[in-house]
């Protein structure tokens, strides 16, 4: 099946993809917060997504597992002081590079292959939508905890 073939393409080239993504991430104004992080850690986090893509996409990862992983990620980014919009952009870039790589390396010919490519594309989009949603949720939760610790000022009224 081509979607499995595409997943394998990403996983087999996870290192190259990660290098490309890191270069992009660390050069963009929209993700400048990542420059303050250790490069090896950034690499490791990105590599984890690409190298285990099948685990995230094809092996029916339960929504709860994505929830758990990415809310924790959101909380972590908050504690690292990276603005949420930069975290969101980083996840979008990971998704975008994945698809650009597929377009670069894979030639789609038959309508069957195109169908599979469309299916793959939609699975990737759905996975990253969930990742971004739960990361945002986790980040906000940490923010709310901090606000509630504060003296119940104006901010807490907004998040009640």
């Amino acid at each position: 099946m081509i979607s499995e073939k595409l997943v394998a393409l990403i996983m087999d080239n996870a290192d190259e993809l990660t290098q490309r993504l890191c270069k992009d991430l660390l050069n963009r104004e929209e993700t400048k917060g990542y420059k303050n992080l250790n490069k090896d850690i950034v690499y490791e986090r990105v590599f984890d997504v690409y190298s285990r893509l099948d685990s995230w996409l094809l092996k029916d990862k339960v929504k709860g597992e994505i929830h758990s992983h990415y809310t924790k990620l959101g909380a972590k980014r908050f504690s690292e002081g990276i603005p949420l919009n930069e975290v969101v952009m980083a996840l979008m870039l990971i998704k975008r590079h994945l698809w650009l790589f597929v377009l670069e390396k894979q030639f789609f010919d038959s309508s069957y292959e195109f169908h599979q490519a469309l299916e793959f594309n939609n699975r990737v989009v759905l996975f990253f939508d969930r990742a971004i949603y739960f990361t945002t949720m986790g980040y906000e939760e940490e923010l709310r905890k901090l606000i509630n610790k504060d003296e119940g000022g104006i901010i807490s009224k907004f998040f009640k």
Binding site: P83, V88, W99, F108, L146, I147, D150, I154, I155
Partner: protein, 164 residues
Amino acid sequence: MIYSKLIKLIEDNADELTERMYKDLTSREETKSYAKMNKDIVCERIYEVYSRLDTWLSKDKHKSGEIERLYTEVGRRRFREGVPLHEVVMAFMLKKRHIWLYVLEKHFIDSSYELYQALEMNNKVVLFFDRVIFFVTKGYEDELRKVADSKDKGVLSKLLKKKD
């Protein structure tokens, strides 16, 4: 061209799509704040995207900075309305998802050429909503930071200060 045909399908059926999207948005736990908002206002916002999809997907809209300006402001407004950011993000994701579900439902895509065009449309839609979500998040955070800086000079503002 099938791409234009698919865009027209969405624009011509913006009313129906808006109703569907509104129903979904207001019945989900993940977007419960929207159930408390005025229906006309919510529907107007949804309809605006579906009815002018071609305009929103064009490169000019992004290059001119219009998407940035409009959606940064949307983020600010949602903050002031007290809607949690993750609900706002989910709302835009649903808006995007309904476009594609509608295309799959109404249009049978068959040949390689049609599938290629459908893939192109899908990617343009994804890119547009990625930009929207990014700018909405930015606007929302900007407002949060202003409030944090003006009222609560404690741990929160230190944490959200940019590491320059």
